[in-house]
């Protein structure tokens, strides 16, 4: 068994709003082992971004950590002060953000920014520049030395996301968080970037927390998958188990809705009827009850995230003795 790198344990995060507390994350539990790629899937607004910003503690001022722990190498990050968090960011934990067009500072050259983020290194500036150029070459940017002097607006979207990957991996982090890194790019670029990321991950052997709503990418890239719905984990497990034998109705519906899974020409694309519940005013019982075709009386109680097989967990009464009745 490999060592566990990141453990998220019963994490509960609220946003304080004028309408009352918005329960953005509830009882989130999963872990990431060293060198492993874990995918997080879910619709927009399911709490993926809140989860990432909670790990790095780069949260909005109205964020409240209500309960649980985020342990990184055994240390609870929620107890860390800002200075301790800052020493982790960009060294042990790195992140690639979603929109490559806005992720770099527009008035500083790429080289300046790549040298700047090596602020922990005591190396001379010329050495830092050389490291930066080496990283740019590694992500497939031609003529890296010259391109260091260019500014973000002189690069295409795909190039900028490569640069973001180069910057995130430069410190050889133990954990790389990739927040929908290819959503803003077109399909051919997506494949190239994912492949390059995978290669570099194997070389550096870092763990990756890969957030996406593209199931095809998740299936190809990840070792394990966490499925989130409305701020809660509904299912987690091995990528094969999740895709071939999903144990939660939401996971099944999500896979059915994936355009890659649709075999026949259809007039109407499949959707999940209903809406995501209001997180400021949570319904009782199972969070997916209102949209679930299989819901029964037992769903009035919240189902626990229970183990089904080795490493495969789902929060649904259907997997329990007696089913939903």
């Amino acid at each position: 068994m490999t060592e566990t790198l990141l453990e998220i344990d019963n994490l509960g995060v609220d946003y304080e709003t004028a309408r009352g507390d918005l329960k953005a994350l509830r009882d989130i539990s999963f872990d990431v082992k060293k060198g492993e790629i874990v995918g997080i899937v879910g619709e927009s607004g399911c709490g993926k971004s809140t989860l990432i910003s909670s790990i790095l503690k780069l949260t909005a001022p109205n964020t409240r950590f209500r309960n649980g722990e985020v342990r990184f190498k055994g240390q609870d990050l929620l107890q860390n002060n800002e200075r301790q968090m800052r020493s982790l960011r960009g060294s042990d934990i790195s992140i690639i953000f979603q929109d490559p067009m806005q992720t770099h500072n527009p008035v500083l050259s790429i080289g300046a920014q790549m040298v700047d983020i090596q602020h922990r290194s005591k190396a001379a500036k010329a050495d830092k520049r050389a490291t930066a150029a080496k990283m740019l070459a590694a992500v497939g940017i031609p003529d890296p030395e010259a391109r260091l002097d260019q500014f973000p607006h002189e690069f295409s979207g795909g190039m900028r996301q490569r640069i973001a990957i180069a910057m995130a991996l430069m410190s050889e982090p133990d954990l790389l968080i990739a927040d929908e890194p290819t959503t803003a790019l077109d399909a051919t670029l997506e494949v190239q970037i994912i492949e390059r990321l995978h290669e570099l991950q194997r070389e550096m052997h870092c763990a990756v927390l890969f957030i996406s709503h593209h199931l095809g990418v998740i299936a190809e890239l990840c070792d394990r998958v966490v499925v989130m719905y409305a701020g809660a984990v509904v299912e987690s497990g091995d990528v094969r188990a999740i895709f071939h034998d999903p144990k939660h109705p939401y996971t099944r519906r999500l896979i059915d809705c994936d355009p890659g899974h649709i075999k026949e020409r259809a007039r109407v694309l499949p959707t999940i009827p209903g809406e995501v519940p209001d997180l400021a005013n949570l319904p009782t019982g199972c969070i997916f009850r209102d949209r679930c075709e299989q819901a029964g009386p037992r769903c009035a109680a919240v189902p626990p995230l229970a183990g089904i097989a080795d490493g495969h967990n789902a929060a649904c009464w259907l997997n329990h003795k007696g089913g939903v009745s």
Partner: protein, 312 residues
């Protein structure tokens, strides 16, 4: 960058050419014979004819314009009707006083305004933020001539901390004489710039690239001073560049209230005596000042922002 500078100053020259031509034609379009107004009702016809010929007013308008530009290119703005001195030397004698007043005002108000604005943006919705907001708004609301008169009364007449009138001799004395006038015309700029920097700074601090900088563990100080302020300052530079025109007009008030020599006072004096060549010369230099300052602001922006350099 050099390419951009050449292009920008080319544009500035074009603007100046258009502005000066329009101004020249406007003055010619004013009804009444300038020679008669200048010489008064009792001038002899010979005298009138001589001045008309001297000012080339008997020539067709195109030729007059050509003569005007010909003289202008040689640095000749014409002759003062009354003293017979060259307008160029009169204007350039007054120019340094106005320039030092304007620069003193910009420097102190921009420094204080940027500091207040950046500080307020770093602590939004705190007591300090509210206090700077109240101060800023009341500063903006205070007209330059009111501040000029009040500060003259309080600091020069009652407290006698600073001299009331004149421009002074020697560096320190000149600086001493600059305090009250630059306070008067700079005060509203402090508030204006502070508000602008605060809004612009808050916007930049919410942008995704600032989150990226934080995600790499850069210090908050470095993020504010380098990553954010450099972007937040861009609109301020533009506003100051355009604001030179407003400062020139507030300088007129300050120069009258504090009896300072300067372009503003020169223009007022020569308008009241209908000394057209001097009016034309000083307005021309003011226009040039304005055009050059907006061009300079654009250049500074281009230096700070590579996107502007590329013409995006």
């Amino acid at each position: 960058m050099v390419h951009y500078a050449v292009r920008r100053f080319g544009l500035a020259l074009l603007i100046l050419f258009v502005a000066v031509t329009v101004m020249f034609l406007m003055i010619r379009a004013v009804p009444g014979d300038p020679v008669q107004i200048m010489l008064g009702p009792r001038a002899t016809p010979e005298l009138q004819a001589r001045l008309t010929a001297e000012l080339a007013l008997d020539q067709p308008i195109i030729k007059q314009l050509a003569i005007f530009y010909g003289n202008l290119l040689q640095g000749d703005l014409g002759i003062d009707v009354f003293s017979g001195r060259s307008v160029t030397s009169i204007v350039f004698q007054q120019l340094p006083h106005t320039l030092s007043l304007i620069f003193a005002s910009i420097i102190w108000s921009a420094t204080l305004g940027i500091a207040l604005g950046a500080y307020a943006a770093a602590h939004p919705n705190t007591v300090i933020d509210r206090v700077t907001a109240a101060i800023s708004v009341s500063f903006v609301a205070a007209p330059a001539f009111v501040v000029a008169l009040l500060s003259l009364l309080i600091f020069a007449v009652h407290l006698q901390w600073f001299p009331a009138i004149g421009a002074g001799e020697g560096f320190w004395d000149r600086l001493d004489h600059l305090v009250l006038p630059s306070l008067a015309i700079g005060l509203s700029w402090v508030g204006y710039i502070a508000r602008l920097v605060r809004a612009s700074m808050l916007e930049v601090m919410g942008e995704p690239h600032i989150r990226t900088a934080r995600a790499f563990g850069l210090s908050e100080r470095r993020i504010v001073m380098i990553y954010a302020l450099r972007i937040a300052i861009l609109p301020v530079v533009t506003v100051i560049g355009v604001g030179m025109g407003f400062l020139l007009s507030s300088a007129v008030f300050a120069e009258i209230v504090f009896a300072r020599p300067g372009l503003g006072k020169l223009v007022i004096d020569s308008i009241t005596t209908r000394n057209y060549p001097v009016v034309m010369g000083s307005v021309l230099v003011s226009t040039g000042l304005f055009v050059v300052s907006t061009a300079l602001a654009d250049l500074i922006n281009a230096w700070l922002d590579p996107r502007a350099r590329a013409g995006h």
